[in-house]
């Protein structure tokens, strides 16, 4: 008997498919968390509060290509840009973005909006009072981001940590 002929069967099947769609919506960060390796990136603040989303810290990454550098690019841009990462002391910094996926080494896969890159590590959600404290700490340059990056360049922000030496 085909289970889809009954109403209950159709509803159960719909719920199963709906649940299966959820990981697809977050496939990149999920893959990065499950299979990626950890890297530390220097962070800077951007914007503290979004009234709808609640409290979070919006982050900027001084070590990644800036909007000014992106604006000065002379090569054709596409919807996706790859940012190769190189070690610089305790943290990693990005080199000039490229349109083709690098063959080796850690790199970030980012959405290229021409004036900025969105690499999926732009915000960190946390309770409102902690967001203010974290925003303050980030503003003083005492925080680094712990990021997991998988082999395809998908990234997930897994933590913000205080720098002990600053």
């Amino acid at each position: 008997m085909n289970p889809l002929t009954s109403r209950t069967g159709r509803v159960v099947a719909a719920c199963v498919v709906q649940l299966a769609l959820v990981p697809l919506a977050v496939a990149g960060p999920l893959s990065a968390r499950l299979t990626g390796e950890e890297y530390l990136l220097e962070v800077a603040p951007l914007d503290p509060i979004d009234p709808f989303r609640g409290a979070y810290v919006a982050l900027d990454y001084p070590g990644l290509p800036s909007s000014q550098e992106l604006g000065e690019r002379r090569y054709p841009t596409s919807e996706v840009a790859y940012v190769p990462l190189v070690a610089s002391g305790d943290v990693w910094v990005g080199r000039t973005p490229v349109a083709d996926r690098p063959s080796s080494g850690p790199f970030l896969r980012c959405e290229d909006e021409h004036w900025r890159l969105r690499c999926g590590i732009d915000s960190w959600f946390l309770p409102q009072d902690e967001a203010y404290a974290m925003e303050h700490a980030v503003g003083q340059g005492r925080v680094v981001a712990r990021v997991r990056i998988d082999s395809r360049g998908n990234a997930a922000l897994v933590g913000l940590e205080m720098h002990d030496d600053t």
Partner: protein, 407 residues
């Protein structure tokens, strides 16, 4: 064996399908009751026959207070749930938050199904609305738990796809509304994200209208007629929105970039129209009309009249404005007529309101810079009267020709 009651043909979006008695407007049922009484008095039917006929129908008030409150309640709880997730459930770990929201969603689905078995249809729609909104909360909570920013169109896309799946599984109009809305938002957002200019907005809006219009035609002619109205209304709204934006002279295609989602949209639109024409040949005009809207909208965006110099609008600027108004009057007139033909006063009101808004905005945009005071109001009044006259004449003419109904 008794004949199966026909599926309700009403365009009431708040109802969910019921295989039992046919639901009709209270006014129409009152008319039937008076006719039955006169047939009974004339000896055409006896008591038993009159009761049997009467029992085949049940009155439906489209905007009953109970339904309004239930839908408002469902909507508020759903939005509140989304907001609650958005505002961080501070006390719980990300995984636990996700599990709580998922349990809520499945609870709403199960409650709706249990109520369906008890035939409490009025409440079922509210719980289905809640379930489809709660599914959005599940998607956004999953994203938040993984620190994914909320402004990803893919999240809305998955929400829309899931809501559509649920709507078709349970034959529910309330989740269909959520699914159609979120899917449309996803498509327009995805394309606009790549090409942040006028064409990047107008084209996906109009392509969404084509798909929605074709799906509506197939529903009306083939399967689940109650699903036709939400798709039809969405199509009309998108055509009127797309042409509204396309009519502005400074909306252009300078930053336009062709993208994969746009190709998908064109393919989906053409496929949907072809399918609608084959499956419902008698309604091919309704399926093809939004396609004409796409052509008109694209041409209006590509037509860039010179900007006014020292407040003086050029001849081409006037021509652009008048052609835009003419296109909009035709489009709004078409949907007003469609509302009459499909017995949907909502569609007719939508078209009329859109025309009034459009004419006002266009008139002020074109004439306000060069005419002041009383003259401005005189000119606008003449434009309104002219548009209204043309609109009404067109509606009467089309209604008489297409439907054979009295205008």
């Amino acid at each position: 064996m008794p004949a199966e009651a026909p599926e309700p043909q009403t365009d009431d979006m708040t109802q969910d399908l019921d295989p039992g008695a046919r639901r009709v407007d209270a006014g129409r049922l009152a008319w039937l009751e008076s006719e039955l009484a006169s047939w009974h008095d004339a000896g055409l039917v006896d008591d038993t026959q009159a009761q049997a006929i009467r029992s085949r129908y049940v009155a439906v008030r489209r905007f009953s207070l109970a339904r309004l409150l239930l839908l408002l309640g469902g909507g508020f709880v759903g939005v509140g749930l989304l907001w609650l997730v958005a505002s961080n459930l501070d006390e719980l770990s990300p995984l636990l938050r996700f599990l709580v929201v998922t349990a809520l969603w499945l609870g709403f689905v199960a409650t709706a199904e249990l109520l369906t078995r008890r035939r409490t249809q009025l409440v079922v729609g509210g719980f289905r609305l809640l379930a489809s909104l709660a599914y959005g909360a599940v998607v956004f909570q999953a994203a938040q738990s993984l620190q994914v920013p909320a402004y990803e169109p893919a999240l809305v896309g998955v929400w829309g796809l899931g809501a559509l799946l649920y709507a078709y599984a349970v034959a529910g109009v309330a989740p269909l509304l959520v699914g159609v809305t979120t899917s449309t938002v996803w498509f327009v957002w995805t394309v606009f994200d790549t090409a942040e200019d006028g064409m990047g907005f107008v084209l996906p809006v109009l392509l969404a209208a084509v798909v929605a219009g074709a799906v509506s035609v197939v529903h009306a002619a083939r399967v689940r007629p109650a699903f036709a109205a939400p798709w039809r209304d969405t199509s009309a709204l998108m055509v009127l929105l797309g042409l509204f934006v396309a009519a502005f002279p400074d909306v252009d295609a300078e930053g336009f970039v062709w993208s994969a989602p746009l190709s998908l949209g064109v393919f989906a639109a053409l496929t949907a129209v072809a399918a609608a024409v084959v499956l419902a040949p008698r309604a091919r005009a309704e399926a093809l009309a939004p396609l004409a809207g796409v052509v008109a909208g694209v041409l209006l965006v590509l037509w860039e009249p010179p900007a006014p110099v020292m407040g003086a609008v050029s001849g081409e600027g006037y021509a652009h404005a008048f052609v835009s108004v003419a296109v909009y009057v035709v489009a709004a007139g078409w949907y007003a007529v469609l509302g009459v033909l499909r017995d949907s006063s909502r569609l007719t009101y939508l078209a009329t309101a859109a025309l009034v808004l459009f004419t006002t905005v266009q008139s002020f945009a074109v004439f306000a810079p060069i005419i002041t005071g009383a003259t401005l109001f005189l000119v606008l009044g003449v434009i309104f009267l002219g548009s209204g006259f043309l609109f009404d004449r067109g509606r009467r003419h089309l209604t008489a020709n297409l439907g054979g109904a009295p205008a």
